[in-house]
């Protein structure tokens, strides 16, 4: 079967790579094969669950950092759902990314408690320092910035999360300390 074309239950179709929609970050052949393995494994591990779709999508993103555009077809086939069902779920939830993120992900809280302690200014400061907006990755591939609406750290506002590490009482000075190790790593 030619690359970029898949056989599904409902016949032949082109994957998004073939249609030129795939993000450059996932374009390499080796990546595509390994991500296919990850998707297949995620389906095999969870398909016995009732309501397996979210656990499968999480398993894929936990491994790859994103849900590759061609995963939707594979997951749809694996769960006997339509592609539209799966794509609809992926696009509904803020968590699922369509493109490979940076090596680290910073989620900064935009909610009320953090706003009351200068969260808006911190958000502007962070965007300016990284030179990116929400949903973007720094050119060196180090950091992806995302908004989040409450991290449950509202008595230690303003808060942000670096990968899965929660940080509280974040000041511009503390931001400098927190960002330094993220940008240094190769």
């Amino acid at each position: 079967m030619p690359p970029g074309v898949e056989r599904g239950d409902r016949g032949w179709y082109f994957t998004s790579a073939q249609m030129g929609n795939e993000s450059p970050a996932v374009a390499s052949v080796s990546d595509r094969f390994s991500s296919a393995d990850v998707v297949a494994q995620a389906i095999a591990d969870h398909r016995h669950l009732r309501g397996a779709l979210l656990p499968i999508l999480h398993a894929i993103q936990d491994r790859l950092g994103f849900v590759p555009p061609d995963a939707a077809h594979r997951v749809a086939d694996g769960l006997n759902l339509s592609h539209a069902d799966v794509q609809g779920v992926i696009s509904f939830y803020h968590d699922f990314r369509a493109a490979r993120p940076g090596r680290h992900i910073i989620k900064i809280c935009r909610a009320e408690a953090c706003q009351s302690m200068g969260g808006r200014a911190l958000e502007s400061e962070l965007k300016a320092r990284l030179g990116i907006d929400f949903g973007e990755t720094t050119p060196d591939g180090a950091i992806t910035l995302e908004p989040v609406y409450c991290l449950g750290n509202c008595a230690c506002s303003p808060a942000l999360m670096i990968d899965t590490e929660l940080k509280g009482r974040v000041t511009p000075e503390r931001l400098t300390l927190l960002l330094a190790p993220l940008r240094d790593k190769p």
Binding site: R50, G51, A52, L53, L54, P55, L57, H58, L79, D85, G88, V89, F92, Y93, H94, D95, F96, K107, A111, E112, A113, C114, Q115, S116, M117, V148, Y149, C150, L151, G152, N153, C154, A155, C156, S157, A159, M161, T164, E165, L166, K167, G168, R169
Partner: protein
């Protein structure tokens, strides 16, 4: 051997508890002191975190906030024997913030090792489940009805009545679903329970299972809480090994097991029907009610959907009896609520108190005023869908009915504090913006109304046709209140209208003038 407690709670670690623990371990090793470090939950006094406790002959002595640089000095001062130091707070249980609380649901949080089941049992755990195992399902349900326990997620529906409906349903199987999608800004009590005393939640779910005759429970946990997910996984594994979960609950012939499902960053999935859709693997779209989830819930089956705190309050009720719980509180708001003091507050944290405490007591007696030292201008109670209250309302007792009569809601008990630098028109705009971002999109008033709301407030703030646009904003809010399918669209006008009513000067009106 000396036991030192350093919280493993994610909020405590967010301000340096990990560094403190490592510094203590290093210093103890260097000095040859025999120290065991236990990672407990947080006591909920976050301005003192990282708060370290040492077990001494006089009980547990607290020190905080402890930075790594303080550790050598603490050792020099003899903190392992509970000696004086500038960071010493005295016996933990005597700290007024803690001593004045009525901790029923949070009795063990910060006290025990969260994943040590033997310690859980030694501190009163499992007694509620043992009592429930000796009771008929109807009797468990009626005990919870008599306790007056109402849904702590925010809607405050009587828990026992809901369980009665599920128990009476004939369809099988039945499910217990724990709503752990704690999305409201200013709330963290669910997180603290799951990280600090996860067994009490599992015990509460098992009791719920016995009461409604369900053998399977799900915890729908928000993805923003990775620490809670790890702790729950460890607790569930320990509970299965010990027979607190499984085919034979505590050796009985009753089965119950729990599975954790991770959400994916959608606030709307805290709404119970959207949560059920999400658990089924679908978009988190709100379902119309009826049918009630109690009759047609998860996978179309009868389902008891309860918040974390509701379920975690049940073991106390079954252990100590409905009356012990109902004796707390006022009016139809019985028992205690873990209030959460958040935002611009000097002493932010968790305050479990009986209903009836006033906002002023919480804000000043517990909270000590604003963190910035400026006057408190507004507080938002009950999350992003709760009203903003001005200082003139601070004497309102926190009771579901009193708050509803004041056009506000207690919700999940979050109290977010703002000082006098807040721009309330900006907060009103944010309320609409948040609704636009998080709306599931199923009904038009919420999906479209929130976007139009942002635009109209932008016009007002820019001074464009202000009076006409203010009338339009109120009209839009009226449509959202009466036309939305669920509380997301229906309550987003609450912060908007309360900001307009109480702080008209921020919308360009002269101070004190009532807008429209």
């Amino acid at each position: 051997m000396t036991t030192v407690y350093v919280p493993g709670d994610s909020a405590a670690r967010s301000v340096g508890a990990e560094d403190a623990a490592q510094a203590i371990a290093r210093a103890a090793a260097a000095r040859g002191d025999d120290v065991t470090i236990v990672r407990n939950g947080s006591r909920g006094m976050f301005w003192l975190e990282p708060m370290v406790e040492v077990v001494t002959e006089q009980g547990r002595i607290a020190y905080g906030p402890v930075a790594p640089g303080d550790v050598p000095g603490l050792f020099d001062a003899g903190f392992l024997a509970g000696r004086a130091h500038s960071l010493c707070l005295g016996p933990t249980s005597e700290i007024p913030y803690l001593k004045k609380q009525e901790r029923l649901t949070f009795a063990r949080v910060g006290v025990t090792n969260p994943i040590d089941l033997a310690e859980y049992e030694a501190h009163g755990g499992l007694r509620g489940l043992r009592a429930a195992l000796a009771m008929a399902p109807q009797d468990i349900v009626e005990e919870v009805v008599r306790s007056g326990l109402r849904g702590r997620g925010g809607a405050a529906f009587p828990c026992g009545i809901k369980w009665r409906t599920v128990l009476g349903a004939e369809a099988r199987p039945k499910y217990v679903v724990c709503n752990a999608d704690e999305g409201d800004s200013g709330t963290f009590s669910d997180r603290m329970i799951m990280e600090g005393d996860p067994f009490v939640l599992l015990e509460g779910m098992a009791i719920a299972g016995l009461a409604v005759q369900a053998s399977k429970g799900y915890i729908y946990l928000r993805s923003e809480y990775p620490d809670a997910e790890r702790t729950l996984a460890l607790a569930i594994a320990a509970a299965r090994r010990a027979g607190l979960l499984g085919d034979h609950l505590l050796g009985s012939d009753r089965a119950f097991d729990v599975e954790v499902r991770r959400g994916a960053g959608a606030y709307i999935c805290g709404e119970e029907t959207a949560m059920l859709e999400s658990l089924e693997g679908k978009r988190g779209m709100v379902r119309p009610k009826p049918p009630l989830p109690a009759l047609e819930g998860l996978f179309g089956c009868p389902t008891a959907v309860n918040n974390v705190i509701t379920l975690a309050s049940v073991p106390f009720i079954l252990d100590m009896g409905a009356k012990s719980y109902a004796d707390y509180g006022m009016g139809r708001s019985q028992g205690t609520l873990p209030f959460q003091l958040a935002g611009n507050i000097k002493r932010g944290g968790l305050v479990e108190k009986a209903f009836g405490i006033t906002l002023r007591e919480l804000l000043y007696d517990y909270g000590g005023g604003s963190a910035s030292g400026r006057p408190i201008r507004a507080v938002q109670v009950g999350g992003p869908l709760g009203a903003y209250l001005p200082a003139s309302r601070f004497d309102t007792p926190l009771d579901y009915e009193t708050f509803a009569a004041a056009g506000a809601m207690i919700g999940h008990g979050g109290v977010v504090v703002f000082d006098d630098t807040v721009d309330m028109a900006e907060m009103a705009r944010y309320a609409m913006e948040f609704c636009a971002i998080e709306s599931c999109g199923k009904c038009t008033p919420c999906r479209i109304g929130s976007r139009r709301g942002v635009e109209v407030i932008d016009h007002i703030r820019a001074g464009r046709k202000a009076s006409g646009n203010l009338a339009l904003l109120r009209d839009l809010c009226d449509t959202m209140i009466h036309g939305s399918l669920c509380a997301m669209g229906g309550l987003t006008p609450a912060p908007v209208l309360s900001a307009l009513d109480h702080f008209p000067e921020d919308f360009g009106a002269s101070r004190g003038a009532k807008l429209l």
